[in-house]
């Protein structure tokens, strides 16, 4: 009896010592000799697993000559490779394994995922290894895929919303806009070559610039064995240097307007904000501020939405490494634009005063953010994508400690960040509106 008791205690203690948790899930990370970081999370609700490769690539690594090619490369990932050569073979394998897949290119990350039954994890890892390490970049396939991406480009620019956001980035980040332009330039996409694909592959698609994220119904030991079996042969590359010149700050307030056939007016007000580096408190303070202002019980919500002046609004801090902003985005009837702007600027003026903040509400917005994180992580796919994103942009340690850091942010931290970036910063205003509102309310913007 005594023996069994000690055995149970030993097992329990070793569990405490060796297991790590990430947002209440068992978590384990390893680094292969080639530099590939492997992040594994156990979720046992359903018998599936998501295998994701996250790459530190995206629009921020682009030059004017290859603007849009991080995204085209992402498309080429889903083409043939040395093992499953033709597109037919590749697609067939996807279906055999029951894979639901996608890829996404953003400013500072490119992510690819396969979600499949957990019983197929070994085959899934093998499939992922060939797709990421050995693409063929067949020139006929590349030519076809260029047209696919050009159609995606045309679709995006057929929506007024999209044009609005692209213009906003081009105004805010005028000098190095190509580092914010994910879809890219049409002529660059239309003339992309295999050589350019290999250039991206050799520079960024190396194990020491990627993470393999595995979330789902898994066994750590077995998964680790499979990972080593398939990914150890991936050859280490030259460490990537991400030393780009900084995006210049705004030197004056800027405005732009797009007039289109739209039912409501969209108003965007953006301030340049600190880049995310994980050390400073400022990004966390601005993140908390955006959560605070988004609460439906906040003063801003009462004045804008409850009053009926605005349909909805979004406040957010983008938290990127290469150019960040703090933005207000509002959707409203054009006739209300003057009143809404006046109210919004009155609020902004008070953001650096302690009286503006209700301590209980501030505490609540910390909890709100935490609950929302847990909600988002309910899905293993969403967990994998969030983790992959953090690995690329903010680092896993910062993801782990995010809620703790937020908990420690004080009213004073917020006021200090607001004073530095908002109260004393230049801003950019953007309007997407219909011709009537333009004529009646915004025609003074002509020529901006």
């Amino acid at each position: 009896m005594k023996k069994s008791f000690y055995l149970v205690i030993t097992i329990f203690l070793s569990f405490l010592i060796f297991s790590e948790t990430l947002y209440k899930r068992d978590y384990k990370s390893i680094k292969l000799d080639n530099g590939l970081e492997v992040l594994m999370v156990k979720t046992r609700t359903q018998p599936i697993v998501t295998i994701e490769i996250a790459v530190k690539n995206g629009s921020y690594t682009q030059t004017p000559e290859n603007c849009g090619l991080s995204h085209l490369y992402e498309h080429m990932f889903f083409k043939g490779n040395v093992k499953w050569k033709s597109q037919e073979e590749y697609n067939k394998r996807i279906r055999e394994l029951g894979i639901i897949y996608n890829g996404m290119t953003s400013n500072e990350s490119v992510r690819y995922y396969f979600t499949l039954p957990s019983k197929n994890i070994d085959e899934g890892l093998e499939f992922m290894s060939y797709a990421i390490m050995d693409p063929l970049f067949d020139s006929v396939e590349l030519e076809k895929e260029r047209n696919v991406v050009l159609n995606e480009f045309d679709r995006d620019f057929s929506v007024p919303f999209y044009k609005f956001y692209q213009t906003a980035d081009s105004v805010m980040y005028e000098k190095y806009f190509y580092r914010k332009n994910t879809i890219g330039f049409k002529n660059v996409i239309a003339n992309a070559t295999r050589e350019q694909m290999y250039e991206i592959k050799n520079k960024y698609y190396i194990p020491n610039n990627c993470a393999l994220v595995i979330v789902g119904d898994i066994d750590f030991d077995k998964t680790e064995k499979s990972v080593k079996k398939y990914f150890e042969r991936w050859e280490k590359g030259k460490d990537v240097q991400f030393d780009f010149p900084s995006h210049p700050l705004l030197e004056k307030n800027k405005k732009f307007i797009i007039v289109d056939k739209v039912a409501t007016t969209k108003y965007l007000l953006s301030f340049r904000a600190p880049n995310f580096d994980g050390n400073s408190n400022e990004p966390y303070a601005l993140d908390l501020l955006s959560d605070y202002l988004s609460l439906t019980s906040s003063k801003l919500y009462k004045d804008l939405v409850e009053s009926g002046l605005v349909y909805n609004y979004y406040v957010g801090y983008s938290g990127l490494k290469d150019g960040s902003e703090f933005s207000f985005y509002l959707d409203l009837r054009g006739e209300n634009i003057d009143t809404v702007k006046k109210i919004l600027f009155e609020h902004i003026k008070k953001l650096n005063t302690p009286d503006y903040y209700d301590s209980n509400l501030l505490q609540h917005s910390k909890e709100y953010g935490e609950v929302n994180t847990f909600r988002r992580l309910e899905s293993s796919l969403s967990f994998a994508l969030t983790l992959g994103y953090w690995w690329c942009v903010g680092g896993v340690e910062n993801f782990k400690n995010y809620n703790e850091r937020i908990k420690n942010i004080s009213k004073e931290d917020i006021i200090s960040a607001v004073s530095k970036y908002i109260s004393n910063g230049y801003y950019m205003e953007g309007f997407l509106t219909d011709s009537t509102t333009y004529k009646e309310k915004l025609s003074f913007l002509k020529g901006e």
Partner: protein, 418 residues
Amino acid sequence: MKKIFFVFFIIMIFIFSFSEVYRERISKNLELLYKYVPENDISSVSIFIEGGSANYGYEKSGIENIIFRMIEKCGKNYSETEMNELMDKYFVNVSYDNSYDYSSFTFSTLNKYLFDVTKIFADNLKEPDFSETVLEKERNRMIDEIKSKEEDPDELLYLKLNEYFFKNHPYISNPEGYVETVQNLKEQDLYNHLKKILSNRRVVISVVSGVPFKDSEEFFKREFGFINGKFEKIKGVKEFDLCKGDTILKYEKGGLQTKYLGCKFKIPSVKDKEYLPVRVGLSILSKRVYETLRTKHGLTYAAYVGASNKLVNYGVFYVSTLYPDSAIKLYRDEIEKVRKEGIKQEEIDDMKNIYQTSFFLDNERTSNRSFALGYNYLIFGDYDYDMKFIKELDNLKSDKVTKTLLKYLKDFKFILLE
């Protein structure tokens, strides 16, 4: 060894008993489905009302949507300001799905607030506040949202397809509403309609929660006991009234960088036994069309074929391309290929794998689970229907899929948006 086996057996029974769905009839027209999931931190509640567009005519299109919006916003006992504060306090997420066959309202919160939040929404449903001052704001918002949909070419194409396909059919009563119908919806219309549906339509409340059923049963009975009417069976909705043969209509939007082509065609009801082979067949056709149009020819970024899930049902073909004539030709070629060569058993087996993954993926979120529980029960009379659907794929043979699919691949009604 025996002991280990016994412990394992007990654990399995324990897990199994906790995954049971409790079903309780609260009144003649109200049933409660409750799934207790001990490991859940989040609770989700879905309220389904049967009928959808069968509950109102064209001139009241959008009425159930605006009712749910108002219930989310306020009630006689909770002002808009109070509701906003409470929704924050209890970390509530709300969504609603106003479909052609039902309306549903789903909310989720932390387990510890399940009763507080449910009480608020039950109260708003029992004693709503549709007074003109609050209603006007929501009506304006809804009208502008409807107008905004026309900005997005995909949304506009969908609206135009429905306008044509649902002509002379009850589904023309768009659950999202039209500008001209929403602007005429008045306070009294909303009170009358809510009273009508709660007193003679079937209502299903489905819950997935970490709170044990024994602790919740009486609470739900008490809070929703006011839904106590008769259960009027809805007459079968008639078939779509469409001409034979293919048609193509063009619609000019302007300002588009590419063209958008969509088409609808009749398929069996989601409750019909032919639905399963047709749905699987269309998924396989979708894969073939995607590979031909996008992968082989690079004609498009988006190409899709699929089955909807309505009581009176339709299939869809969609593509965005600068070359719609070539896209239609290739689509027809693929149908011809199905006619000549049929669907392969291997393709069905592969599709089963994808369906399974997708089913498990959907099941990870508590709100999806409470929705699926109620939806399956309301539409199919079986809360486990989607699991059985997946299992049934094992028995599906290629000749059956080919034969059934071909019966429906005709009379395509195309709309081209340019």
